[in-house]
């Protein structure tokens, strides 16, 4: 029974990894690609690692897999956030379909204040 369950979970996981790959190709700009990459890969890895747990059914394997899963869930958003931020600061490059951008105004405001800040203590 758990064998079938493992196989099903595994296939779902692998399928979502594939969805991440397809999304990486099809979506129009970095940010939407990141949606696909972040969500689908973490979910997919969750599925695959659950399959590992179900397959081995041993405590230490399970804990290693859970730790790996926890680590991925912890770090994938951070990595996405860093890439998105860096990409935006390098040049927004938003897709033409974009409707709303409230980050740009904030960023330009912050830049001007931080420049004056930097002007004061640029030597530290």
């Amino acid at each position: 029974m758990s064998d079938y369950l493992a196989a099903a979970v595994l296939l779902i996981g692998a399928f979502f990894m594939l969805v991440a790959g397809v999304g990486l190709i099809r979506l129009p700009d970095v940010y939407s690609r990141m949606h696909a990459a972040t969500k689908a890969t973490t979910f997919g890895m969750g599925g695959i690692l659950s399959a590992v747990i179900l397959f081995f059914q041993a405590a230490h394997v399970a804990t290693h897999a859970i730790l790996a899963m926890f680590f991925l869930f912890l770090t994938a958003p951070v990595a996405a956030h860093l890439i998105a931020r860096a990409a935006y600061r390098k040049g927004p490059g938003l897709a033409p379909a974009t409707r709303l951008d409230e980050y740009g105004p904030y960023l330009s405001g912050e830049r001007s204040t931080s420049q004056t800040k930097n002007g004061i203590n640029s030597h530290d």
């Binding site: 940010y31 696909a36 405590a59 994938a76 958003p77 998105a84 935006y88 709303l100």
Partner: protein, 157 residues
């Protein structure tokens, strides 16, 4: 988190990693955790947040539901014959007060339907969220508020 919590959770991780839970292993884990604490002693701040175990369960359930929904949405968008999205970045003012809460919320936002947190403002009160469908920004805000922010505040604040 208090130092005792860190020590105990580290030694718990240690035991889980080893896979065999005996008293000796727990002791070794405690020693190692103490070593790590000694090593990292300069990086602990005064900041504290409290975990409420009961509420965390609600958060986890809510988060898992959102995660699955998110993936189904990604699936629908990616595999539809024509991609029709209206993305945008909106500013979301959070009601979380602790840094840990804000960061947990931002991370959760990234893993839930159609949203991805791009940055947190300097005063850590505003999260900038990139959303795949932003036809009605207020709906997105409402979804975040109900689906994530309430459980997060419940869990860690």
């Amino acid at each position: 988190m208090s130092l005792a919590t860190i020590v105990f959770s580290l030694s718990a991780i240690w035991i889980l990693m080893k896979g065999t839970g005996s008293a000796g292993d727990f002791f070794v884990g405690l020693i190692l955790a103490a070593l790590i604490l000694r090593f990292l002693r300069k990086s602990y701040h005064q900041e504290k947040s409290f975990l409420r175990v009961g509420r965390i369960g609600r958060y986890v359930v809510s988060f898992t539901r959102e995660l699955i929904l998110a993936n189904i949405q990604v699936l629908r968008i990616v595999l539809s014959p024509r991609i029709r999205i209206r993305p945008g970045i909106l500013a979301y003012r959070t009601r979380c007060r602790t840094p840990f809460g804000v960061i947990l919320l931002a991370n959760s936002i990234t893993l839930t339907p159609g949203t991805l947190s791009v940055d947190i403002s300097e005063d850590s009160q505003t999260i900038f969220v990139h959303a795949l469908d932003i036809t009605h920004p207020d709906e997105v805000r409402e979804a975040i508020r109900l689906g994530l922010e309430e459980p997060v505040i419940g869990a860690v604040e």
